[in-house]
């Protein structure tokens, strides 16, 4: 026993952390990310390799369905904590570690044979059978293939602000590839609890099986709260629809747009602070983009510089750490070779859809958008200590004009489906990362100006 506990202690010294970030919790996410880097805890890419589920941000009233599934997908030993505020984050992580050691969450770990879905493949052993949340019954039960990416489906009514998707078969989310269907479009049989795929024309003129795969809301380096309902053929996206997960509406302005929103509400905001926030916002997007592009080193550096910018280092110091990073990315021929020609968004089209931020300025592909970020990072890093206050007319935040009829990220979300059609999966991830919509914007209800922007 002694040996076993010691082994467990050593094994969980660096638990794999799966971050489930709710919209509106950017501040907390940044803090937790920095804390994880400080502790050297790895961020898991999916539930299979995680030990500790860290939900960042306030939970909605009913515990989210997707978080529940995520939790079920994590193999034991596991623990789950919520970091709802910056002040409580450190304590939450410590508690998570302690829970892992003590096995506080393991009491409902048992073995149990699943009855449905066993056609000939034998036993699906479920490790956590007695439902932690009995009311969500069916779901918690059969959701072992819970992948972070596959879990938001029509069953949680609150999760749909779009409403149009209520009609989806509730199990669509678990559509594994193996469930291929019959010929014909209408034939959506369900086998082993998995819906069968239907056939449809693809990009290359073949009629192949098409899978409905929801992507998000929890995926490494993914905009918090975004769900893309993809129709995949192989790894080619044939169609994409955008959804957002439910999030409580707060009076707290979205983190990245805060300075501009406060300025337009009449508060005095220093120009330097706004520049700093802009710089950090783009560095955050850049870090995410680089991570998706598979350039981990540069991504880690971008995030490090972002944290420094937010910590308030002097403009000269910030510039000296920003410049080498930017030069390195700008000069990377490989990055140019890999990202040029992807997700081309001409400025007329962007303008037509109401895009006002870097995506409009870039007037081009993924690489162009990254270059615009780099320019703005460089410029704003120099302005971090600029004197003066932000005028009420100065309304261009990191993702576009904050005073428009449309939220800046709404425009970006509107652009997405068109850009994703026909893209391969990896390209689709890059395109999403290069637009990097910020779903925090939707959680904000500014009393005097505008209501919650649901569509």
């Amino acid at each position: 026993m002694e040996l076993k506990s010691r082994l467990l202690r050593a094994a969980t010294a660096r638990p794999g952390v799966l971050l489930a970030v709710r919209p509106g919790a950017t501040r907390e996410r940044l803090f937790v990310e920095a804390e994880l880097v400080r502790r050297g805890w790895p961020c898991a890419a999916g539930p299979a390799s995680a030990n500790l589920l860290v939900c960042v941000g306030e939970a909605t009233t009913a515990e989210d369905d997707w978080a529940e599934r995520l939790w079920l997908g994590i193999p034991a030993p596991k623990a789950r904590v919520t970091a709802s505020a910056v002040e409580r984050a450190v304590e939450a992580l410590d508690r998570g570690r302690a829970d892992l050691l003590s096995g506080a969450h393991q009491h409902h770990v048992g073995r149990h044979e699943q009855t449905d879905g066993d056609l000939h493949r034998g036993h699906h052993e479920h490790q956590e059978s007695p439902d932690p949340a009995p009311e969500s019954g069916r779901h918690t039960h059969d959701d072992h293939n819970s992948h972070g990416s596959e879990h938001t489906n029509g069953s949680s009514a609150g999760a749909h602000q779009h409403g149009a998707h209520e009609g989806h078969a509730s199990h669509e989310g678990h559509n594994g590839h193996a469930a291929h269907g019959m010929h014909g479009d209408h034939d959506m049989g369900v086998v082993a609890g998995l819906p069968m795929a239907a056939r449809a024309d693809d990009r290359d003129g073949l009629r192949l099986d098409r899978l409905h795969v929801p992507l998000g809301p929890v995926l490494a380096d993914w905009p918090a709260g975004l769900v893309l309902r993809l129709e995949l053929q192989g790894d080619v996206v044939q169609q994409a629809a955008v959804e957002r997960i439910a999030a409580p509406i707060t009076a707290r302005p979205p983190f990245w747009n805060e300075p501009w929103l406060r300025a337009s509400a009449g508060e005095r905001v220093a120009r330097g602070d706004a520049a700093r926030r802009l710089c950090a916002a783009h560095l955050d997007s850049l870090g995410r983009f680089l991570a998706v592009a598979g350039w981990d080193d540069a991504a880690a550096e971008a995030r490090h510089v972002r944290d420094r910018a937010l910590a308030g280092v002097a403009a000269t110091e910030l510039t000296s750490s920003v410049v080498p990073l930017i030069r390195r990315i700008r000069r990377s021929r490989t990055l140019r070779w890999l990202t040029a020609g992807l997700g081309v968004l001409p400025s007329e089209h962007a303008h037509h859809l109401g895009v006002t931020g870097p995506a409009l300025v870039a007037d081009g592909d993924v690489h162009g958008r990254v270059l615009v970020w780099l320019d703005q990072i460089e410029r704003s890093a120099g302005d971090c200590d600029a004197p003066g206050t932000l005028g009420a007319a100065d309304v261009t935040g990191p993702r576009g004009r904050t005073d428009g009829a449309n939220l800046p990220s709404q425009a970006l979300l509107d652009v997405l489906p068109g850009l994703l059609e026909g893209a391969e999966f990896a390209c689709a991830r890059l395109i999403v990362a290069s637009l990097d919509p910020d779903l925090d914007e939707f959680t904000w209800a500014a009393p005097p100006v505008r209501g919650p922007a649901d569509d």
């Binding site: 010929h183 056939r199 003129g205 073949l206 009629r207």
Partner: protein
């Protein structure tokens, strides 16, 4: 180990493959039957080389030819399936036979 054993194994593989090729409706499965048959042929040629005329390289050349035939059969098969599928959404032999009518 002797020639007869190898040839028996080869004919067993050939017949299993033949059964598959005759019964399977799906073109891809049919090709798997053909592959198995060719596997038997390769084995027969190799054992003939070994036990009948090892000094002559012709036996080996025959194996090379059979292996090449396998690759060609595969490539052509997939191309044909793709072409059929593109034009008619067909991947079954019975359906392809109906095309004649």
């Amino acid at each position: 180990m002797n020639l007869e054993l190898f040839l028996l194994l080869a004919s067993a593989l050939f017949c299993v493959g033949l059964f598959g090729a005759l019964t399977q409706q799906s073109i891809v499965m049919l090709m798997m039957g053909l592959e198995l048959m060719l596997g038997g042929v390769i084995l027969a040629a190799a054992s003939a080389w070994r036990y009948i005329a090892p000094a002559a390289a012709e036996g080996q050349v025959l194996v090379v030819v059979a292996i090449t035939a396998m690759a060609l059969e595969m490539a052509t098969g997939f191309a044909v399936v793709t072409a059929l599928f593109r034009s008619r959404e067909i991947d079954m032999t019975d359906m392809a036979a109906e095309l004649k009518e």
